[in-house]
């Protein structure tokens, strides 16, 4: 392998380990399942150390390489940090100081990673590294103190089996968790409390209890809990005061084994299986595959067209063979295309899990306690789109924390809880993803916004006075608004909102802002699921091709002209007793109107769906369904009402993709 490929591989691996590390530290902050989490961190750090060392060995064969100094640094820092993590293993909880160190480590390694990726020659600031090492050493003394405190604590493990009552299992589980926690505050559960909150159900719980009490006392307490069927003590010979040692690690392993043996077999094997099937591939390679797949889809459509138009060998056996061959190729092209798109689908977790760290930093920096949460992390979207979202999101989050959320004193005075909340939610909506970011801060002050815009000469005073609420909020997307010092109330919000919008434009997404003064701000992002290949219905209207995404189409029907009714300018007809409004394409697309063909008693209508509405759009010809490669539109033509994008047909001509959501707007306008 070439050196650059080795480095790339190292970076992928590093990214993956850091992501895992990042989400683990998040859980540590929530104080869940502490001991095993530190183990997880240890494994991440150890893996990074291993791969950086092996890469160094390869680099040493070269004379010089820009990345070498950074990789050396990673190897060094992971080596020291590994030892530090060892010392944390004996703890039952982490102090703020220790959590900061965990985060510092990640920051430094991420910094080094960026330097490697971007070929930055300059080494990382020596002071940062020194500071980090100094902090690591400081901690050593505290650890001694802590272990003295812990001297009298004994660690016990119990496996608890519950009465299996199918109906209220989850409720009982919650009670058991709560009761144990009330009595022994630093108990740790497997499965974690998190899994419980996610609504998962299980019959066995393993719990670690640190207490001065003897084992049998704890055991009898557990046995007397409601709904508990059986309590088994897991042998654990070591008390906490013995500190960390090789022996302890072994003991931990036996516990892990014990827990694993307790898990149903198939679950375990499944877990292992999925792990072994993971393969790291550079996105560049996938994009390359997609590019060629897209091309193949177009060629497939072209060949289809060709066979339709040319009837050579017609009626012969050879022709039949040719057609069979073609249909076989077609179905494989379909599979290929589906699989390629699946590869690119990535859950939002990957993005969202990066935020807690930054929010924590902001929260400390601005002295504002923030409660951050997100939901819908398993919602998937094309990786190419996801990758574009980090910067805009970071910007929106910074805005929310710095300018939205008030300082605790102010919040209390307003009757709000002192901690500000920031919540992100992702969910699917047909072929789109909708993300909302809400904060409960002070909201956008429209008056200050207006003043700022007038001051900056973006709008005139009289125009400002006549502006609607929405138009005013729209001002935050204008660069320059709100930077004025006179609008301290929210100076800053607005800077870069223009950039956020541009970024979303680039992936064909959109952004809406709504806000209530003193109650908070809600930002809604609407994103396409994928930018690549979709199924479409090809039609012709007035001599021009139009494509309807299959996700928006119900059916194509012929309606007798005589069945079309008119009421106050609206045309409609009945389909299965449902009133369906008709939109005339020529009118909607502003095309030259044609004379109605009196010989044709029918009107061909495409029934399209958007949200909960159904509309009929007139079409001339219908050519059936095919896979289409959605082209990226230039911003100049993106805004055409009723058109979302376009695709290229087999004969090379351009077909415009209809956006049925715009049809609804037209309807409500009438």
């Amino acid at each position: 392998m070439e050196i650059y490929e080795l480095i790339n591989l190292f970076i992928y691996e590093l990214e993956e380990e850091l992501d895992e590390y990042s989400s683990t530290t998040l859980n540590i902050e929530k104080e869940l399942n502490f001991a095993s989490l530190i183990d997880d961190l240890y494994i991440n750090v150890h893996t990074i150390k291993g791969s950086s060392k092996s890469l160094l060995n390869n680099l040493n064969k070269e004379d010089y390489h820009i990345a070498k100094i950074h990789i050396e640094q990673i190897a060094l820092i992971t080596h020291t940090f590994e030892d530090y993590l060892e010392t944390l293993k004996i703890k039952t909880s982490l102090s703020e100081y220790e959590v900061t160190l965990l985060l510092m480590f990640e920051n430094i390694v991420r910094d080094l990673k960026v330097r490697i990726e971007d070929d930055i020659e300059e080494p990382i600031n020596e002071d940062i590294i020194k500071d980090f090492y100094a902090r690591l050493e400081n901690k050593e003394e505290d650890i001694d103190l802590n272990s003295i405190n812990n001297e009298t604590l004994n660690r016990h493990f119990f496996s608890i089996t519950l009465n299996s009552d199918e109906t209220y299992k989850h409720g009982y589980l919650t009670l058991v968790y709560r009761d144990i926690e009330e009595k022994y505050s630093d108990s740790v559960f497997i499965p974690s409390k998190d899994s419980l909150l996610k609504g998962e159900e299980f019959e066995n719980i393993t719990v670690q209890i640190n207490s001065i009490e003897e084992q049998d006392i704890i055991q009898s307490f557990l046995e007397e809990l409601e709904n508990v069927d059986k309590v088994v003590n897991i042998p654990y010979k070591y008390t906490v005061k013995e500190g960390y040692s090789v022996q302890q690690t072994q003991a931990k392993e036996t516990i892990k084994e014990y827990i694993n043996s307790y898990l149903p077999e198939d679950k375990l094997s499944k877990k292992k299986k999925s792990k072994s099937q993971t393969l790291r591939i550079s996105t560049k390679r996938i994009d390359n595959v997609l590019k060629h797949t897209s091309k193949l889809v177009i060629l497939n459509n072209k060949l289809d067209q060709f066979l339709l138009q040319n009837d050579f060998l017609a009626g012969t056996k050879k022709r039949k063979e040719l057609e069979e061959l073609f249909s076989e190729i077609s179905s494989h092209v379909d599979y290929l295309q589906e699989s390629v798109l699946e590869i690119r689908m990535t859950p939002f977790d990957q993005l969202f899990s990066r935020f807690p760290k930054d929010i924590r930093e902001l929260s400390i920096q601005y002295k504002k306690p923030i409660e951050f949460s997100y939901s819908g992390g398993n919602t998937e979207i094309d990786k190419n789109i996801l990758d574009e979202l980090f910067d805009p999101f970071m910007h929106l989050i910074r805005n929310a924390v710095i300018h939205g959320i008030e300082i605790p004193e102010e919040r209390i005075a307003k009757g709000k809880p002192p901690e500000g909340t920031v919540h992100i939610q992702a969910k699917h909506d047909k072929n789109r993803v909708i993300i909302t970011l809400t904060d409960d801060g002070r909201g956008i002050k429209l008056d200050s916004l207006k003043k700022s815009a007038v001051k900056k000469n973006l709008i005139s005073q009289s125009a400002a006075n006549n502006m609607s609420r929405n138009d005013l909020i729209e001002l935050i997307f204008k660069s320059g608004v709100s930077t004025s010092e006179n609008v301290t109330e929210y100076s800053g919000r607005g800077i870069g909102m223009e950039a956020v919008r541009k970024k979303l434009d680039a992936v064909n997404g959109s952004i809406y802002v709504s806000s209530k003064e003193n109650e908070g701000t809600k930002i809604t992002l609407i994103l396409p699921l994928t930018t690549a290949i979709i199924e479409g219905m090809i039609t012709k209207i007035n001599g021009e091709y139009f494509t309807f995404p299959i996700s928006q189409v119900d059916e194509v029907i012929n309606v007798k002209k005589s069945e079309i009714r008119t009421s106050s300018d609206k045309k409609y007809f009945f389909l299965k007793e449902q009133e369906i409004p008709i939109i005339y394409s020529e009118e909607f697309f502003n095309m030259d109107s044609r004379e109605d063909d009196p010989n044709n008693p029918f009107l061909k209508i495409m029934i399209v769906r958007a949200h909960n509405y159904i509309v009929g759009l007139t079409i001339d010809e219908f050519f059936g369904q095919q896979s289409i490669v959605v082209k990226t539109m230039h911003p100049f033509v993106q805004g055409a009402k009723g058109i979302s994008s376009c695709n290229i047909l087999g004969d090379g001509s351009i077909s415009l993709i209809v956006d049925s959501n715009d049809l609804l707007q037209q309807l409500s306008r009438n």
Binding site: E474, F477, R501, D505, N508, S510, I511, Y512, E544, F588, F589, N590, M591, K631, T632, M633, H634, P635, F636, V637, Q638, G639, A640, K641, G642, I643, C646, I648, G652, S653, I654, L656
Partner: protein, 171 residues
Amino acid sequence: MEEISKETQETQEYVVFELSDEYYCVQINTLDKIIPKMHIRKVPNLPKFIRGIIDFEEQIVPIIDLKERMKLPKTQSSEEFILLFEYDEKLLGILADSIFELKETNILPKKEFTYVSEYVHIFSDGTIRMEDKHFSKSRDSSEELVILLSIKKIYDILYKELTNLGNIRTN
């Protein structure tokens, strides 16, 4: 001022083309390609000066009709060429009636429009006030006025305009 005197030493290359019997030019290094006009697919519900789109080397390229935008008179001359510019990593096409010549000159574009003698082209500095026409109708064959177009400025003006019209999706 220093910069200007420095630039006079250098020769600049321009493509001079015709729109409604008037001469316009662009710096060659801002131009990506010149292609013969091909079928342009109309896109509905857009301002008239966006003639439509073409599929050029797998890219969807919007075609701008400057004659329409600048309210230049309709003439007999047909649109034969499309000038392709790359801006913001995307191609943008501008219709031209015909390509007049490729011109090399070390004469700097002037801010004011002035007439000078034979074979010398005077350029504006790239500002093009799109609502106005700046030139006289009677042209002397020895005195040619060529308006230098700046693709960046055209792009910015159109972008702003389309945004105001709500045609660039910003919400």
